[in-house]
């Protein structure tokens, strides 16, 4: 007996839900109709990220690490689905391992990147890393899954909220990843994923006054223009690689706060 399969509609991931683009438009990629995000979708995603930021930044580091580890579990559980929309099982395995690796950094960052500072005066002076805020990520086109995960995980583990633009040519992996995120314990709005045209979405994010940092790793020829637009509110600009794994990638999305606490009787 034949059965008609239930097809998936590829939508955006904003504020923990899967809306269609408000523009009602789609574009074709990898043989599928994928949501074609608009300026309004970008704005909605930034609003969702800003709303989620304080809670995520305030989550205990140990807890944040566990949430990310849970994401790795969800990805592993969907390994076959993910493998079907990227280069294959090896890319999925590496991506899962990378999330586990970054998860372990959550409660070690402050020890590795922070310091206590011996000032000349009656103060206990210390420096701690804090998340930058809302981070925009332009994911590299390839690897479809590995590229996004490599840029997303370091921003997340530091406590930032993210608006990511998926690979334009291979967006399905990003949507599949969004489904893993939605079923993990990552709070709604902490990760928002848009599909569409980078040349349209990148400048909107780069010039957005409520985005604190932008990762232009996947921006290609538009990098210089985006960096220029990013100056509007002195955004931090990260230029990384599509396949790196380093605590210094986390540091790109951190601020160092120094506190002078009085010492006295």
């Amino acid at each position: 007996m034949s059965r008609l399969p239930v097809r998936k509609t590829y939508k955006l991931f904003v504020g923990g839900t899967f809306p269609r683009s408000e523009s009602g438009r789609t574009y074709e990629a990898e043989g599928q109709n994928v949501a074609h995000a608009s300026r309004k979708d970008v704005r909605d995603a930034v609003v969702a990220a800003r709303k989620a930021f304080a809670g995520w930044a305030g989550t205990a580091a140990y807890n944040r690490g566990q949430v990310l580890y849970r994401l790795a579990e969800m990805m592993e559980a969907r390994a076959d689905n993910l493998a079907a929309v990227c280069s294959g099982r090896d890319e999925v395995d590496a991506a899962v391992d990378r999330v586990v690796w970054y998860a372990g950094w959550a409660d070690k960052l402050a020890q590795v990147l922070g310091s206590s500072n011996p000032v000349s005066g009656p103060y206990f002076n210390f420096t701690v890393p804090e998340p930058t805020g809302v981070v925009a990520i332009l994911a590299p086109d390839e690897p479809a899954l590995g590229g996004l995960v490599s840029r997303l995980a370091p921003a997340l583990v530091g406590g930032n909220a993210v608006v990511a633009v998926a690979s334009e040519t291979h967006p399905l992996a990003a949507i599949e990843l969004a489904e893993a995120i939605a079923t993990s314990d990552v709070p709604a709005g902490v990760v928002n994923i848009l599909t569409g045209f980078r040349a349209e979405l990148g400048p909107i994010l780069a010039g957005h006054m409520d985005v604190n940092a932008i990762d232009v790793t996947g921006a290609g020829d538009d990098t210089a223009d985006l960096e220029r637009a990013a100056a509007a509110n002195v955004k931090r600009v990260a230029r990384g690689s599509a396949d790196s794994q380093s605590p210094w990638e986390i540091a790109s999305f951190l601020e160092m706060k120094t506190v002078w606490h009085p010492v006295g009787q």
Binding site: N117, V119, S120, A231, N233, V234, M256, T258, H261
Partner: protein
Amino acid sequence: MTDVRQRTSPLEWEYAPAPEARDIVKFQERYGLFIGGELVEPRSKEWFPTISPATEEQLAEVALAGAEDVDAAVGAARNAFENGWSTLRPAERAKYLYRIARLLQERSRELAVAESLNGGKPIKESRDVDVPLAAAHFFYYAGWADKLEYAFPNRRPAPLGVAGQIIPWNFPLLMLAWKIAPALAAGNTVVLKPAETTPLTALIFADVCRQAELPAGVVNIITGDGSTGAHLVRHRGLDKIAFTGSTEVGKAIQRELAGTGTRLTLELGGKAANIVFDDCALDQAIEGIVNGIYFNQGHVCCAGSRLLVQEPIAELLIAKLKRRLETLRLGDPLDKNTDIGAINSRAQLERIRELVASGEEEGAEIYQPPCVLPEKGYWFAPTVFTNVAQSYRIAQEEIFGPVLSVLTFRTPDEAIEKANNTAYGLSAGVWTEKGSRILCMAQRLRAGVVWANTFNRFDPASPFGGYKESGFGREGGRHGLEPYLRFEE
């Protein structure tokens, strides 16, 4: 019996002038550009006068570096980097920095007097804060020069090359030290551009480099105006730009460097909240508020320019603050009694006046203590605004002058909301006797430096820099080395 109250009444105090001896400084009539280890005539053939803002008298004439001069300076720095400095044993590099630190201490009085003459700041500040801290920065970073692999384990740190550095006029020598000390410790060479109105201590520093026998071209100092800075930023032979100054110029630099791959750090403006809770040690807080906004005539990017007072003590605090303002002594920067010196330039004075006028127009209530301003020079009386709404320009824009805006709050949440309601994020202050509250506020304030029960403290070991539109990158501490290194991990 003497009436104690009368004797200690602030208005009864009088001070005899106690001027610091000026003849410890002998300025040249004219200073060339410090390029390749010597003062040279500018290829631009242009010169401009540098004055004392307290008297408007000319102190010297300095060169105005043009594009060719900038190119020559970058060339000299590149040459020094490639032919010696980058391969010098780090322990030897450290010793040059120690020498510089020692020379700054030895010439500290001369530098302090020069700083106060050229910049208008009170001698007690240049003598007790600017110059000792500048020396301390060289001492601190000297020790890092041969220990970089311990600061960044497993990262194989290496110098970037040539750094272009642009500094402001509010702490001329200290900002020079913040820039040059970590750059040199990390193995870079530099081209430094002092501010247009305050070039003289940088030129004395050039002489310190000569005395220290620092190899030619490791430090180059090019004086000039905004056009000189623009030439430096546009020069493609630099590996890094470090800028301290206004947010507006910082954004222009960030735009200019887009796509070039030149490394950038920015230390920009601020509109710091100084938050005073009702359980604080009030008299101590008053001193901190005064230090927070009137230190260096308020020409401080991290100045506590927005005072947030908890409502129950607002009336008492404002009364005490006004009384304290009456005791501030404004006048000759070289007088050891002076608390408030001259405004750095006519342009800055006009900006302060414009913003203060906007505060009055928007409906804030102004208070200035009785205060005689000298006839010559640029002066502005210490000013407090009450009845300030968050939307007023004086609550949003950086004034960079001795002007305090007072707002009130009821709960810690409201204080945080108001404190963070700004595009800036450089610094903040918290006054309370409750330690747990200090740490809670420190956590929630979006600012790079938080002072508790103190304000405007600086130390070479303590990282300094902003969140949001106050810039990125840190100066001071181990973190201050990072902007001057690349990593071959």
